[in-house]
């Protein structure tokens, strides 16, 4: 167990180094302009600004030491973006919001995906199963931005659910629980959009693993004991589905930032995805380097956590 952890951690760190270097190299070497489009400057001023920029981002060093210096700056909060705002600070600002959004979305995924999957397995072959399958592919095929706008039309026209930002203007003077409720209310639409493809995937996984376990002897025994179908499905058979749930959790953690770009942009949600979009639009490369690095950290962490959770949900899995 300890051996396994040490080994995995070592591999993770090496992997992280390779990945961050790779994404750094891609940004560094991809053809295209590397400077931010700024206001017009006189040639002399421009040259001076350019010199300052080169020093600030270690552009005079060879690219490999540049990588290390940039990483060092990032952690010591010295790396600034093209507007001289510390990058690290921006990320610390935004990351909790994205985590909150994804946590809510995870609850929605499990809350909807599991019952759908159980229904598919329980009535397999019937019209309910077929429609749950087609429904799953429907959700999977829905582009996030399209759903978002459909939701916007629906919510704004017919139901009052706020769609932009995370708080109503003026609410900051209310008590903390009113603010929390307000934020939750704002989270509903983006979390739902984020959750829909997950619901589809999760329901298919749950259905498949349920069908697999339904032919096992222990399920027959459970039925023979006279347990109700719901108890058989939810208490006995569903244990077998814990594995795909863990897999999904790993995926979600890994793809948290990338998955949130579109949704956060549409709903003006102050998370990492929107930060990425803003940085992309303004070609704010230091921010992009940092975001790609943190995404890689999340991927490595997601994989590690999922592998460790496997052994928790399935005692047969040994970490070796």
């Amino acid at each position: 167990m300890i051996t396994y952890l040490v080994r995995r951690l070592a591999i993770s760190i090496i992997l992280l180094a390779i990945v961050s270097l790779l994404s750094f190299a891609i940004i560094r070497f991809a053809p295209g302009s590397k400077t931010a489009g700024g206001e017009e400057m006189s040639p002399k001023k421009l040259a001076a600004a350019e010199e300052a920029r080169r020093a600030k981002y270690h552009l005079n060093d060879p690219w490999y030491s540049q990588y290390f210096l940039v990483m060092k700056d990032l952690f010591s909060n010295k790396l600034v973006d093209y507007n001289d705002r510390p990058v690290h600070e921006q990320i610390v600002d935004r990351l909790p919001w994205t985590m909150l959004l994804n946590a809510v979305s995870l609850v929605l995924v499990f809350g909807m995906g599991i019952p759908l999957g159980v229904a598919g397995a329980r009535f397999r072959g019937g019209w309910r199963d077929t429609s749950s399958a087609v429904g799953a592919f429907f959700l999977l095929s829905l582009p996030g931005f399209f759903v978002s706008y459909m939701l916007c039309i629906l919510l704004v026209k017919y139901i009052y659910v706020p769609i932009l930002g995370v708080g109503t203007f003026g609410m900051q003077f209310s008590s903390w629980w009113q603010q929390a409720l307000d934020t939750g209310w704002h989270l509903f639409a983006p979390a739902l959009v984020l959750a829909l493809p997950g619901v589809a995937v999760q329901s298919r996984y749950v259905r498949a693993s349920l069908i697999e376990s339904l032919s096992e002897d222990y399920i027959r025994t459970a039925r023979a004991k006279g347990l109700s179908e719901s108890v058989v499905y939810y208490k006995h058979a569903l244990r077998n589905s814990l594995r795909p749930m863990v897999t999904f959790f790993g995926f979600l953690l890994a793809g948290m930032i990338a998955g949130s770009v579109i949704v956060e942009t549409i709903f003006s949600y102050p998370g990492m995805g929107r930060l990425a979009y803003e940085a992309l639009s303004k070609r704010n490369l230091p921010v992009l380097v940092a975001i790609n690095f943190y995404s890689a950290v999340l991927v490595v962490m997601g994989n590690l956590l999922a592998d460790m959770l496997y052994s928790v949900v399935d005692p047969r899995v040994r970490l070796e």
């Binding site: 994404s23 991809a30 087609v134 095929s141 995404s295 890689a296």
Partner: protein
């Protein structure tokens, strides 16, 4: 459908005999029984035809029903009706014509990106799976590392830095999404490599390239095919997402994603600017998913649930 094997038969009947005495009905027959998948398949065929036809006619300067770029300010933001069946946008351009014109872009991106994916994935997976040893180790560590990069974010970064053009999009999607396929092919090869018929081929002195091409690849084709079909859907969705964010296909060339972006300003007044391209993306990706799922189920020896 299991017919008894014919033990008799004149030489005349032999040709037919071979076709009819299979133990299981053929792939096509079994696929046809899946109504939903079959419907999806035919939808794709029609779409494919429309995309090719639109591409050819637009190059010839023939525009059916309208020129997708022709502006008509007197007709701006008119709701679906006649002659603009799906309405017009803020410049009075016909939405239906624009959606048709975008269809070949989506198909083009989808198929070409998957072609790159297939080439890279099969090559790497086959090499790793067949040769094993250090080749496998090096290639799979590379795959692990690349899988650690959230691909949408990196594709987005790459396209934004280089320049949002259709070729960059195709290359970025293709080059950054072959890893799962390589793993799949490798896993297939690892299993198949241990089969006795591969050992037999090696014992017969069949060269490695021929074993890979005629023994291993044909037997691992099924999951590769399914993954490729699903990959087209993924690539089309990614392209739509990129175009929506403004880093995809650039106006005036219409793409399903950028029509929605253009229309979002008029969200509450002109719903048709968002609904129709959205439905186009939805139906197309769903058709690819359902077709892929249908193929997977037909090829699965256990033949699961039909959809």
């Amino acid at each position: 459908m299991v017919e008894p094997a014919k033990t008799f038969g004149s030489s005349l009947a032999e040709g037919l005999d071979v076709q009819t005495t299979r133990m299981r009905p053929g792939f096509v027959v079994r696929f046809r029984r899946r109504r939903v998948a079959l419907l999806a398949f035919w939808f794709l065929m029609v779409l494919f035809f429309v995309a090719v036809a639109t591409f050819i006619t637009s190059r010839l300067g023939i525009h059916i029903p309208f020129d997708p770029d022709a502006q008509n300010m007197s007709q701006r933001l008119s709701p679906p009706g006649w002659p603009h069946v799906l309405g017009t946008d803020q410049f009075g351009r016909d939405v239906f014509a624009r959606i048709l014109n975008a269809s070949y872009i989506s198909m083009f991106v989808g198929f070409l990106a998957v072609a790159i994916e297939l080439a890279l994935g099969v090559l790497v997976g086959a090499a790793a799976g067949y040769f094993g040893g250090w080749i496998d180790n090096v290639l799979m560590r590379l795959v692990d590392a690349l899988l650690c990069i959230p691909s949408f974010l990196l594709i987005l970064t790459l396209v934004a830095i280089v320049s949002p053009s259709i070729w960059v999009i195709i290359a970025a999607i293709g080059v950054l999404s072959w890893m799962e396929l390589a793993r799949l092919v490798r896993a297939e090869f690892l299993t198949l490599r241990e089969m006795d018929y591969v050992a037999a081929a090696r014992a017969l002195g069949v060269p490695a390239w021929r074993i890979i091409l005629s023994h291993l690849l044909p037997n691992s084709l099924a999951p590769v095919l399914v993954s490729a079909v699903l990959g087209v859907a993924g690539a089309i969705l990614t392209e739509a997402g990129l175009s929506f964010l403004g880093f995809g296909v650039q106006p005036p060339q219409a793409s399903w994603g950028n029509i929605i972006t253009d229309g979002k300003t008029y969200l509450l007044d002109a719903w048709w600017l968002i609904i129709w391209p959205g439905v186009a993306i939805l139906l197309t990706t769903m058709a690819f998913y359902l077709t892929g799922e249908g193929i997977r189920e037909v090829l699965d020896p256990k033949e699961g649930k039909r959809i």
